[in-house]
């Protein structure tokens, strides 16, 4: 449901860039930490509703969900955290801390050229 707020901010950045390049944005690549719990379909639907009748209508999204990283307190290594096996992938220790979720980033926009 918070996808609506995210879509609004995204639309603001994308439409600003579309004006700057005077071109239609056809695709946007986004990276996002897993704990933002962003649903790709809801995000796209919310965006299309906002972008209707603008040159941003129809932008496709490619969303890469970044795994949660953890740092082992025993061997100091970083590893990908998975709920079904919450342990260090190197030394199997279960004493670790989760690192902050990756931010939501608009990485690049693909514009249509004539």
């Amino acid at each position: 449901m918070h996808e609506a707020a995210i879509a609004q901010s995204m639309f603001e950045i994308i439409s600003e860039q579309a004006r700057k390049y005077n071109a239609k944005p056809v695709k946007a690549r986004i990276t996002c930490g897993t704990f933002h719990t962003v649903n790709d379909e809801l995000l796209s639907e919310a965006y299309q509703a906002i972008a209707r009748d603008t040159q941003c209508a129809g932008t496709e999204f490619e969303i890469e969900h970044k795994p949660i990283l953890a740092k082992c307190r025993k061997c100091d290594r970083k590893f990908e955290f998975h709920l079904d096996n919450p342990a260090c992938t190197e030394c199997s220790s279960d004493d670790f801390e989760l690192l902050p979720d990756e931010p939501l980033i608009l990485e690049e926009i693909e514009f249509q050229t004539e």
Binding site: M1, H2, A4, A5, S9, I13, I105, I109
Partner: protein, 223 residues
């Protein structure tokens, strides 16, 4: 051939800027700020009202009440005589940092020892929006079921403390299925340092441990 342009911008940067300003204001006033997050009906308002009354000799608490459109909860808080600011999100499922900035601005901060935010009832969305709070407090009520931390880990991973509310219902015996050990284990897997308090706002059981933590947290220098 299409043209690809690198952007590399944080999509929620506007919210983060407000959150940072809130954080700075709270720091300047030396005020701890707790963001209470849970599903609707987990007992946030009830817990806040009882807490405000029971610790009023030690902590003066001000409240920012987030609700989709009513001020029913704010009225309940007002009855405790604590200062309360109502924020209506008009449909949005979470509070945003700009709304908290307005709330902080309207509260008598110099007469408070702590600010508590009751976020919009929702177990998922609010934890993705930083408000500038000092800590998040998660609530999970017994009737919601013991599988929630495993299903919705984001909030439980970020929270400083977890209140397992309506613990009085555990005494119903076999009528209610809730495995406290499982909840504690699931939560500890993703958050080693979280404090967990089973509480009942109705019977008062477990509340004194929560109050003790709250007062210590509010007065700690290195919170």
């Amino acid at each position: 051939m299409n043209k690809t342009v690198k952007i590399g911008r944080k999509i929620l940067s506007a919210n983060e800027e407000y959150a940072q300003r809130n954080r700075e204001l709270l720091k300047q006033k030396n005020l701890p700020c707790l963001n209470f997050i849970s599903s609707p009906g987990s007992g946030k308002t009830t817990l806040l009202c009882k807490t405000i009354n029971d610790v009023k000799d030690k902590l003066r608490i001000g409240v920012i009440e987030g609700d989709i459109e009513t001020d029913i909860d704010a009225e309940k808080i007002r009855a405790t005589a604590a200062p309360v600011i109502q924020i209506n999100t008009e449909g949005a499922c979470h509070l945003a940092a700009a709304q908290i900035a307005r709330g902080l601005n309207a509260l008598p901060l110099d007469k408070l020892d702590m600010v508590c935010i009751e976020n919009v009832g929702n177990l998922v969305c609010p934890s993705a929006f930083e408000l500038g709070e000092t800590a998040k407090i998660a609530l999970l009520s017994v009737p919601e079921g013991d599988d929630k931390p495993a299903k919705y880990p984001a909030l439980f991973a970020k929270a400083h403390a977890l209140l397992i509310t309506k613990a009085d219902l555990l005494e119903l015996g076999p009528q209610i299925q809730f495995d406290m050990e499982k909840v504690i284990q699931d939560v500890r897997k993703i958050n080693k340092n979280i404090r967990i308090f089973p509480v009942s706002a109705t019977t008062g059981k477990g509340m004194s441990d929560w109050y003790q933590w709250l007062v210590e947290f509010a007065t700690a220098v290195d919170r």
